[in-house]
Assembly symmetry: C2
Homo-oligomer: 251 residues x 2
């Protein structure tokens, strides 16, 4: 821990990702990663040589988890906010993953300026969940990460369609409330929903998150995974959730 703490700036903290000895630098005043990032990085199917990009990467948690799990994939993380991007770069360096991960400080809406079309096999995103109309968090950094201020769902889907190779996959975690929007936009931009998994806090509760795989130029037919349940009735984590954490073999 001593060696890792040299990477911290005042006010920051180190979070143990509990996967393959990976750690993340976080600023408690900014938006911090949650279980959704861990679930998405487990849901995403990444092949050994895949070129992956994470849109709206924030602290870089998804690239770090993906590179930590798949030792041969190369991951780009795109982040709009300069301080978040800088922190993500330090987390990448601290974990010794600079050869696998590149963090770009770039607005998703103008990524054409720096990234060519059809250049990625996989796109991941854990985007802002809340429409602009809802209450905006007083901290601007958190607001940008939580609300569709700088990034609408339409921008995200359109830019993903631009970045993916034909047959490439988009792995997305979002709220079930937006499922219709995701499916309608996906089909509009040639990203066909192929796999879906609902995430339920408890087994007899409504889902609070949904994970989707959309495939560029995919054939229409949506397959479903069994539901992912987070908590047992006694409030402990389910074995199913725990398999998303814990030591994993690097593939």
């Amino acid at each position: 821990m001593e060696k890792r703490e040299q990477w911290l700036q005042p006010g920051e903290r180190l979070d143990d990702l509990q996967i393959n000895d990976l750690y993340l630098i976080q600023d408690p005043e900014s938006f911090c990663f949650g279980v959704d990032a861990v679930l998405l990085s487990h849901f995403a199917r990444v092949k050994p040589k895949s070129r992956v990009i994470d849109l709206g990467t924030g602290s870089g948690v998804i690239p770090i988890l993906l590179a930590g799990r798949h030792s041969h994939c190369r991951v780009t993380g795109l982040e709009l906010q300069a301080d978040m991007a800088e922190r993500a770069r330090r987390s990448v360096a601290m974990n010794g993953l600079t050869e696998q991960i590149t963090i770009l400080h770039q607005d998703i809406r103008t990524l054409q300026e720096v990234l060519p079309a059809a250049s990625f096999d996989v796109v991941t995103s854990n985007p802002p969940y809340l429409p602009v109309g809802s209450l905006v968090n007083p901290s601007e950094t958190k607001a940008l990460a939580r609300h569709e201020i700088a990034l609408t769902l339409q921008d995200l889907v359109q830019q993903t369609a631009y970045l993916l190779k034909p047959g490439g996959h988009f792995f997305l975690i979002h709220r079930p409330q937006r499922l219709t929007d995701i499916m309608v936009l996906g089909r509009q931009y040639g990203l066909e929903p192929k796999w879906m998994q609902m995430v339920h806090p408890y087994i007899h509760k409504a889902p609070t998150m949904v994970m989707l795989q959309l495939t560029k130029n995919g054939r229409p037919e949506l397959k479903s995974h069994p539901p992912l349940i987070i908590y047992n009735q006694d409030g402990t984590y389910t074995p199913q959730l725990l398999t998303c954490y814990g030591p994993q073999k690097r593939r």
Copy 2:
């Protein structure tokens, strides 16, 4: 039972719907109702004075269950196949529901000839599940009930949009594989998905059916119910499934 059996024709059988002493005449050579019809009639929210229409009513099971549960609603059942429509009429008469239920022998694609626009509060449908491309059942009656031969999902959504009053609801049960198609067509024809419930055979299995409420001119936001689980691990019905059966108070 003696009195009910006088309604049967050769080769037909009587099925106890296990709800409010309702029975259904079925021909085992034709498509017979399943748990999906019972689930849908329980999922559908029907107000006392609602005008309801069931599209592709088959044996009339959904109108009979709805009228048996909601004593003041009036239900129309539309059926393309003459023998099915005739059998449905006998089941309605046998259950003493002729004042509440009308069975129309009519093609859904030409229902404009007999039904005015915006004339119903509720539309229900348990439509053919299988695309035409898949293997067709050798019995023609079963094939029409199971495959999208005489009725595509697009026809169904378009005709439902024609029949519903603004703010009216469409309750549909279908396969999760078609969820994208349902959502895209719904939005195209002004029927917004508002509520969704996944139906799982077992708790840790993928859903095999999905129930949806789409509302004419509804505001975009999909809400989800907790999952509906059919079987306990030991193969018995769950209490949740049993509440869809059993004696129910007529409302």
